[in-house]
């Protein structure tokens, strides 16, 4: 989540082990740029604090590249420079860009009232009708009029929450705005980003983020909020012992407005719909480059779906493209894109993105320089085979959806099961929820998205289905549909479906000695590794509608069908494809009391065990529908 971004920014500032080059860049930027800080007035009179880095070179005109952020444009002070030289963004300085960062309305040093994921207003009538889009419009307008030496072209980019503001910026359609790159944009906090996935509450991320980020800021300040003081750094223990969500709310206190909003809107109501950033994807004039990470634990959903909405809402638009790499949240902007957790990508995918996608994109649209013919409609990194692929559309035209059926005896294959009656059964016990990752730890890991799932396979409350050893490579590109036939003994349940690549027991794996397990601190046994390729959770009550949840009838067979975020992965010959099904994913997602009651206000005593059946017979067959690339 965004908190991570903040931590990374701090980490970047603190990193000392930098080469001579970076020291030189630091000197170069200070010698060739000056920084000003300005309050830019919006149409309603509220002024937004803005840091502007301007090249001293006045022989040519320069484009403007802006990020709007709720995380502060620190360091404050016209003599305090952000450490751009520690990042690939030094390339924009070398290119002579005017670099702008703005505190969004109501955060840090800006005036006004902050509203979380402020709804986009397509019908602004008066100067009081403001939104993030109008704030961006007003800012751009001011910049091109007041910053001398600008070339009249503006770009906006940002990651995560700033990705949301980038999306809103695009919808401003200021004529000077030529190129926008929303990256891991927060898009829909009910369906798939950050706070909820398919209605299941991501309590751990939400709490750790909003216990500091959500605190009120009564007046402009350069000092950030303090975080929560946890009594234990074992997050599984903390959230289990805290128990029902209403207890978590007590710990949060009552000053955090958005937390109360969350509790007041358990379902996908008009409040949530107004906060869907896809509302701001119509009539987009700037060139759009959407960027996301296949293993982004926070906003994996946003990039894919905002891109898709922009495609649907802007038919014929010449430049609306997407890049998706094998990345954790923000990894594409970092130096090391070679691996995530135990999974190696075979090349520095982040550097490739920076050099071949983002920088050429802005240079072309803001300076008219270079060549963007290498940026395809969809530029996707395929894990497993570890290669970048270009597609003319996403999902690829050639993909074919094929159902992979869950079978009796833990098998998985392409043919529909034939047994007259067959199901797998497990007890989902809210007192012993399935951990989302193996190790005891405090902060939600980013590598859980590719972690070994063997620890889960060993549990009685995790159902495991796997194919025989694959005889040829199987490449899957696009959304996966989970289509479960289930019955439960209670009135609600969660369903987590995990798509897993099972590595061979013996395997030559890049740079890892799989038999060096005698020193487990240094290596990980990759033979038999169960790599999570995609996992997603669905809160069963929403199986027919996110707006109007419905209880299950105990014992009645029902369909639970939902979409997992897209995957781009090759299951290689000799590997196996595995599907795991479980009913908790803790403490990533809150526990379902397994009763059809208001989860945000129920009590500890409302949490019940449920016996869950997953059917795999001729009548009730469960499957995962895979978009197979021939």
């Amino acid at each position: 989540m965004k908190k991570l971004l903040l931590l990374l920014a701090v980490a970047l500032l603190n990193l000392t082990a930098f080469s001579q080059d970076h020291a030189k860049d630091s000197v170069w930027i200070r010698e060739n740029y000056y920084k000003i800080e300005r309050y830019i007035p919006m149409r309603d009179g509220v002024k937004l604090f803005t840091s502007i880095y301007i090249p001293k070179d006045s022989t040519t005109r320069h484009p403007i590249l802006m990020t709007r952020t709720p995380y502060s444009c620190a360091p404050y002070g016209e003599n305090a420079f952000n450490a751009y030289w520690d990042s690939y963004q030094r390339e924009y300085f070398r290119e002579g860009y005017i670099m702008v960062t703005q505190d969004v309305r109501g955060r840090w040093m800006s005036e006004g009232q902050f509203v979380d994921i402020r709804p986009f207003n397509p019908n602004k009538k008066t100067k009081r009708d403001i939104d993030e889009s109008s704030d961006t419009y007003d800012t751009i307008d001011w910049l091109i009029r007041n910053i001398s030496g600008n070339n009249g072209n503006v770009g906006v980019f940002g990651i995560s929450y700033p990705g949301f503001y980038s999306n809103m910026a695009a919808a401003s359609n200021h004529p000077a705005l030529k190129a926008v790159s929303p990256q891991a944009p927060v898009t829909n906090w009910f369906i798939g980003d950050d706070f909820h996935h398919n209605g299941a509450f991501f309590a751990m991320d939400g709490f750790s983020f909003y216990s500091s980020f959500g605190k009120p800021r009564p007046a402009p300040t350069t000092v950030g909020p303090t975080g929560f003081d946890y009594y234990t750094h074992d997050n599984y223990k903390f959230y289990l012992e805290t128990g029902a969500l209403k207890n978590l709310a007590k710990l949060m206190g009552d000053s955090i407005a958005f937390w109360k909003d969350l509790y007041a809107h358990p379902n996908y109501d008009t409040w949530w719909k107004a906060r869907d950033a896809r509302n701001a994807t119509r009539n987009l004039k700037p060139a759009m480059l959407w960027v996301g990470g296949l293993f982004d634990a926070e906003d994996c959903w946003g990039a894919w779906n905002a891109y898709k909405a922009a495609e649907q809402n802007n038919p014929g638009k010449s430049f609306n493209k997407i890049v998706e790499g094998p990345w954790y949240h923000v990894q594409w902007a970092n130096r090391d894109g070679t691996h995530l957790g135990n999974i190696q990508f075979g090349s520095n995918t982040s550097e490739w993105f920076q050099k071949n996608m983002e920088i050429p994109f802005f240079n072309y649209f803001l300076e008219g320089k270079g060549d963007i013919s290498a940026i395809a409609e969809a530029n996707i990194f395929i894990t497993g085979s570890n290669e970048w692929k270009s597609f003319g559309q996403w999902p690829p035209a050639a993909k074919q959806d094929k159902a992979m059926y869950l079978q009796p005896d833990g098998k998985l294959d392409w043919t529909r099961p034939t047994a007259a009656k067959s199901f797998s059964e497990y007890i989902s016990d809210p007192a012993k929820p399935v951990p989302y990752t193996e190790d005891v730890h405090f902060n939600r890991t980013r590598s859980y998205m590719t972690d070994d799932q063997r620890f889960a396979s060993r549990r009685p409350d995790v159902m495991v289905f796997q194919t025989d050893t694959l005889k040829e490579d199987l490449t899957v590109t696009g959304n996966v549909i989970a289509d479960l036939m289930t019955s439960i003994s209670t009135t609600d349940a969660d369903f987590v479906v995990k798509i897993i690549d099972v590595f061979p027991d013996r395997l030559g794996y890049t740079d890892i000695d799989i038999y060096a397990e005698s020193d487990p601190d240094k290596t990980y046994p990759m033979g038999g590794y169960q790599m999570l390729v995609r996992g997603e959770i669905f809160r069963g009550r929403y199986r027919k509608s996110y707006e109007n949840p419905e209880p299950f009838s105990p014992g009645k067979v029902e369909r639970v069908r939902f979409e997992l975020p897209p995957i781009a992965h090759t299951f290689k010959k000799g590997h196996r494809l595995m599907v795991q099904v479980q009913s908790s994913w803790f403490p990533l997602a809150d526990r379902n009391p397994q009763q059809f009651i208001d989860i945000y206000h129920c009590s500890d005593s409302d949490f019940k065990k449920a016996t869950i059946h997953i059917y795999h017979d001729a009548v009730n067959s469960s499957s995962v529908i895979l978009p197979v690339l021939p």
Binding site: P435, V440, P460, D505, R506, P525, G527
Partner: protein, 623 residues
């Protein structure tokens, strides 16, 4: 098990190639001469024996003998070991006549090998031989044929050689003055290696017998290959895929070529086969001084050390018998250094202390009349407080077994439940509880001290804990679990784990290479399994009646541990411990013959009510 010492020997020869090693190697060559002989036993069988004699003939020396099934390598009168001779470097430098002998039927010795050779108390002819007689005959020959001996003999050995040390005690040759059985294999059905309380130690047995059970046509210096090749990285997966125990005799594995393996499978209760191999019943009229040594974290033969000492004590109250228990894995007391293990930091070199203050003094005193011996009856390292304690008895007289009751709401309490109640779980042989977190090929030694939070999170593990301790509690001695259970099946395993829960402010170590998260760490102190059908008798197993409440009471290996103020005492209960222990089909039958289809889920209830109060007795030390 015996396996580890084999691996350790290999590793030692591979790893210990530092300065010290070269020094030792030079020392051996310059101070010792070597010869190899065959010594005839009373029945005519000849045992291969390597003899290392001090070159300095100005004084007489005692013998220190190790008898072993693992070979006397290096073979050849001109080949010298690259590591130390004898039990430790100090003793090597003191100079003894060091003897290594291949036991009957192993490596270069003649005769037929028997697993844990049954002892014969009353020998009626020269054909009645056992390890005691073989040791006797060997000592006899040595006294007569090796010049410059002082007429005294010491015997020592770790693990299987520890058994041979114990086995020398009954009817010992009068020249044998001092014997140190260390982690001695003692009873392989009740508590060592092959089985614990009738539960089959699958992973260790499988790996060890693949090596140890391979064949020889006659005396050999090298057995060559193991019986079969295995090729896996994740033991949990391998053994789960292997299926029922009977599949171990499939063509890819033992294929009925393992003699001992088949003996193990053929004897699935405490029958004559196992009873004959229980050396404890023969430990009478013991004359030599005895120093029994064991490790609190010995995954193989902790039982043997504790119960060998106990058995000698009970049957020979006058014998000069002592016990040393340290914070050691199998044989770790023989390492040059042992200061840390898992998340433990003992703050001192515990093996160095043992070597200098205990083992060296013991042999010097009894075999050379050298020095004073002020060893206590029991020299016990107390974990938690990390202190050596001296006791006049083991268990200490001032330790009292006190019940800690499993209570409602997962509490562990000194007071008994007044109401009725139970906790339940489903034990599923398809998803057995792992003995360790993570994927490993070999048995991970640290499992005995590892964080049990991975297990707490499972629905098939019950967890009970005390409140935060307001004052420290030290336990020293025997631990008993006394469970009242019912099951929907007709057999079940019960694993009881005693855990020290560290406080929320416990700091992580600095540096922290293992990436430990110590706050709230659930450190295993002691664990044991019983195969439920043996709850009333190991000789005569009996099925459970589904749904009927029955008592399952059993002993865990001893412990000496301080639960500090601010910690909690936790008990975990579960019905599998895989692949350490094979899966119980949860149906009353001959498990080595069970088929896949025999394995069934069971719902197991653990009762906490007045009539059926499940509890654990902890030996509380009054200080």
């Amino acid at each position: 098990m015996k396996y580890l010492s084999f691996v350790l020997l290999l590793q030692a020869s591979l790893i210990l190639h530092g300065q010290a090693l070269n020094e030792d190697s030079v020392f051996i060559r310059t101070h010792y001469s070597k010869r190899e002989v065959y010594i005839s036993m009373r029945d005519g069988v000849r045992l291969f024996t390597s003899i290392y004699e001090p070159r300095d003939k100005s004084q007489k020396y005692p013998f220190l003998i190790q008898r072993t099934p693992y070979g006397c390598a290096p073979y050849g009168a001109t080949k010298f070991p690259s590591r130390r001779l004898g039990p430790n470097r100090q003793l090597m430098q003191e100079q003894y006549i060091f003897i290594y002998q291949d036991v009957r039927g192993r490596y270069m010795s003649q005769g037929a090998f028997q697993e844990m050779t049954p002892a014969i108390d009353k020998k009626t002819s020269k054909k009645d031989v056992d390890e005691s007689s073989d040791t006797y005959d060997t000592v006899n020959w040595l006294l007569k044929n090796i010049s410059n001996n002082n007429g005294r003999v010491g015997i020592y050995g770790i693990s299987y050689p520890g058994f041979y040390a114990t086995a020398s005690l009954p009817q010992a040759h009068p020249a044998i003055k001092a014997v140190s059985p260390q982690a001695p294999v003692t009873d392989e059905f009740i508590g060592d290696d092959a089985n614990h309380k009738g539960a089959f130690f699958l992973m260790d047995n499988f790996d060890f017998m693949n090596y140890f059970d391979s064949h020889r046509m006659g005396p050999v210096q090298d057995y060559g290959k193991s019986l079969f090749n295995t090729d896996y990285t994740d033991a949990y997966k391998f053994f789960l895929d292997l299926g029922p125990l009977r599949n171990s005799n499939g063509p890819l594995y033992f294929n009925n070529q393992g003699k001992i393996w088949n003996e193990y499978l053929a004897h699935d209760n405490y029958d004559d086969y196992w009873q004959k191999r229980n050396i404890r019943s023969h430990l009478k009229n013991i004359k030599p001084a005895v120093l029994v040594v064991g490790g609190w974290f010995d995954a193989e033969d902790m039982f043997g050390a504790l119960r060998t000492y106990e058995s000698i004590e009970e049957q020979n109250p006058q014998n000069n018998n002592r016990l040393v228990m340290g914070p050691w894995t199998h044989g770790a007391w023989s390492r040059m250094e042992w200061t840390k293990f898992g998340s433990h930091d003992f703050g001192q070199n515990t093996s160095g202390f043992y070597r200098d203050e205990i083992e060296t003094k013991f042999f010097n005193y009894y075999l050379k009349d050298k020095g004073a011996l002020n060893l206590p009856e029991a020299y016990i390292f107390e974990t938690g407080s990390n202190e050596w304690k001296k006791y006049d008895d083991w268990p200490p007289r001032n330790s009292t077994p006190l019940p800690f009751y499993l209570r409602e709401n997962k509490k562990l309490s000194r007071s008994q439940a007044q109401s009725s109640g139970f906790d339940e779980y489903v034990s599923d042989p398809d998803n057995p509880v792992p003995y360790v977190e993570g994927a490993y090929r070999r048995r991970r030694n640290e499992y005995m001290v590892d964080d049990q939070r991975f297990a707490s999170k499972r629905p098939d593990v019950l967890t009970y804990q005390t409140d935060t301790l307001a004052f420290p509690i030290t336990i020293s001695g025997k631990i008993f679990a006394d469970l009242f259970v019912s099951t929907t099946g007709t057999d079940a395993d019960f694993v009881v784990k005693l855990i020290d829960v560290l406080p929320a402010d416990e700091p992580d170590p600095v540096p922290n290479p293992q990436n430990l998260n110590m706050a709230g760490y659930q450190r295993l102190v002691r664990a044991e399994v019983i195969r439920g059908k043996f709850r009333n008798s190991f000789e005569k197993p009996s099925p459970f009646t589904p749904g009927r409440i029955e008592e399952v009471k059993f002993e865990l290996p001893d412990a000496a541990h301080t639960f500090k103020k601010g910690h909690r005492i936790m008990i975990q209960l579960q019905s599998s411990w895989f692949p350490l222990v094979d899966r119980n089909p949860q149906k009353y039958l001959n498990i080595p013959n069970a088929e896949s289809g025999d394995f069934q889920k069971s719902t197991i209830k653990i009762y906490h009510e007045q009539e059926h109060s499940s509890k654990i007795f902890l030996p509380i030390l009054n200080q």
